[in-house]
Amino acid sequence: MKKLLNNPERAIEEMTEGILAAHRDVLRRSARHPRALVRAERADGKAAVIIGGGSGHEPAFLGYVGSGLADGVALGNFFASPPPDPIVAAARDSETGAGILLVYGNYSGDVMNFEMAAELLATEGIPVESLVIADDVGSAIYEERSSRRGIAGEVLAYKILGAAADQGYALSPLVGLGRQAMENCRSIGVAWTPCTLPTTGVESFALAEGEMELGIGVHGEPGVQRIAMGSADQIAEITLTTVLDDFPIAPRRVALLINGLGSTSLMELYVYLRAVMARLEKYRIEVGWVRVGELITSQEMGGCSLTMLDVDDNLLDLLRAPCYGLGWRQGC
C-alpha cells in the first residue's frame, strides 16, 4: 500500500485537522465531540440537516456541510458508521428549535447508529425525523427496494435538503420533500480496480484484466455480478438500461450525476457521460441538470456510478441553488 499518510490509525483525525486549518470559513468542530463537524456559522431558526457515514469516501460526507447544504456531519471510522455520540453532538450543535432531519445511507450499521442517535435526541425533546437513502438499484430488486443501499444518490439528497432547509422548509415538509425526491432516484455503480483500506492495506478485490464488477457499492464490496469489462458505450448501455428499467414510469426530465470512484479520470467520466446523454436523447428524456466529478469515492478504486433523479422544476431549483461546502460549491 502506497498512501500519503502517517499512521493510518490517525488518518481521519489528521485529515480533519488539515480541513479545519484550511477551511475555517466553512466548517468547525463541535465542542461536544471531535468527530462531529458543523457549519462555521450556525444557521438559526431552520430545520437542521445532519448527515454522516464512514470515512474514506471524501469529499463525502464532510464536504456536504455548509451553507445551502447540511448543517452537521458525524464521521465514522473507515467504511464504518459513526456511533450515536457524534451524531447527537452534531445535531445538538445545529439544533435551533426547528428540529433535526437525519439523512444517511441504508446500511445496517448506519441505520442502527442513527436510530440510536434519534432515540437519544427524542429523549431530549428535540423533534427528529430520519431519511434513509436507498438509491442503489444494483443492491436489491425493485420489489425489495427499501433494502437497497445508499450510494451517490445520497449526495443529491444532501444538496436538495440542504437547499430546502435553508429556504425555510419546516421539518415535516422537508422530510416529505426528501422522501418523494429519493423515491425517484436511482443509481448503479461499476468498478474495475480495487481500493485499499488504509488500516488493513488489503485490496478489496482482484479482477482479471478484462473483468469488472457491475452493481458495486462505495466500499469495495463485491457487486451484483462480475462481467466482462466493456467500452464506455457498452458500460453506458448496461448501466443506463439498469437504471431506466427500474423506474415504474420512464422519467421525462432528469438530473444526472456521474460520480468517479477514485482513480477514474475526468476525461473518462465525460466520455461516459457523452454515451449516456446520447442514449437519453434517443429516448427523448430531457437532461435538466448534470454534475460530473468525484462526489463520493472509495479511496483509489477505479470505477464510476450513474445516478438519475426524476426532476420537477422545484427540484431543479434546489439543485441549482447556491451552496458552499468542500465538496460542492456554486454561487457562493
Binding site: 471510522n77 464504518a80 458508521s81 436489491a140 483500506l197 488493513t200 478485490f205 466500499h219 464490496e221 463485491p222
Partner: protein, 214 residues
C-alpha cells in the same frame, strides 16, 4: 467472578481477536467491505482502555463501560449490536459484587437477547447470530449443571453454526446485497462471534479453582 475477573476475560477476548484480525479482514473483504478485523480489534482495545480503572467495581459496571466504549470506538454494524449486548448483560447482573454460576446463564441469555433485539437477525441469515443463537441454545439445553460442560456445548454449537454460514446466502447486513454471491464464504461476524465465545470457554478453563465461580 468479580469486576476484576471480567476484565481479565475481556483481555483474553481482545488477544484472541488480535490473533484473528487478518482472517476476519480476509472474510469481510470477500463478502463485505473488509473492515471487520480492524473494527473488532479497535473496539476491544477501546474496551480494555476504558475498563482498566474499574478493577474494584462490580461486574455490571465493567460491562456497562465496555459497551459504551465499544460503541463509541467503532460505530459500524457491530458497535450497536455488542454495545446492546453488553448493556443488557450488565442489567442482568446489576448490583451484584460478584457473580456465581447461576448468573452465567442469565448473563448469557441477556447477551444474546441484546444482540437479537438490536439486529433482528435470526439463524440462517448469515450473521453472528448463527453462532450466538445455537451456542445459547446448546448451553441452555445441556442437562448437566456443570458450567464448564455447558460452556463446552455452547462453544461446539457455535463452531458448527459458524461453519454453516459458509453455505448460506446472506439476508442481513452488508453482505445481503450479494445474495447468492455470498455463498461459499463464511461470515466474518460469525467468526468473530465464535472467537469471543471460544475465548470465554477457555477463560473459564484456565481459572484458578476451575469452574467454581465466587
Amino acid at each position: 467472578m468479580t469486576g476484576r475477573d471480567v476484565i481479565t476475560l475481556l483481555e483474553l477476548v481482545a488477544e484472541r481477536l488480535r490473533d484473528h484480525q487478518d482472517e476476519l479482514t480476509a472474510l469481510d473483504n470477500q463478502v463485505g467491505d473488509g473492515d471487520h478485523g480492524v473494527t473488532m480489534v479497535q473496539g476491544w482495545s477501546a474496551i480494555l482502555a476504558a475498563v482498566q480503572p474499574l478493577r474494584n467495581q462490580p461486574p455490571s459496571e465493567v460491562l456497562r463501560t465496555a459497551g459504551q466504549a465499544f460503541l463509541n470506538a467503532v460505530g459500524a454494524t457491530v458497535g450497536p449490536l455488542y454495545a446492546t449486548a453488553f448493556l443488557r448483560t450488565a442489567g442482568a447482573v446489576d448490583g451484584k459484587l460478584s457473580l456465581g454460576a447461576d448468573d452465567a446463564g442469565h448473563a448469557f441469555e441477556a447477551w444474546v437477547e441484546g444482540l437479537h433485539a438490536r439486529g433482528k437477525a435470526d439463524v440462517g441469515e448469515k450473521t453472528m447470530m448463527d453462532v450466538w443463537i445455537p451456542a445459547w441454545e446448546a448451553f441452555r439445553a445441556q442437562r448437566s449443571e456443570d458450567l464448564q460442560t455447558k460452556l463446552d456445548a455452547a462453544v461446539e454449537a457455535g463452531w458448527e453454526g459458524f461453519q454453516r454460514t459458509e453455505a448460506m446466502a446472506a439476508r442481513k447486513g452488508r453482505a445481503s446485497r450479494l445474495a447468492e454471491r455470498s455463498m461459499g464464504v463464511a461470515d466474518p461476524g460469525a467468526l468473530s462471534a465464535y472467537v469471543i465465545l471460544a475465548a470465554v470457554g477457555d477463560w473459564f478453563k484456565t481459572r484458578p479453582g476451575g469452574m467454581v465461580l465466587t
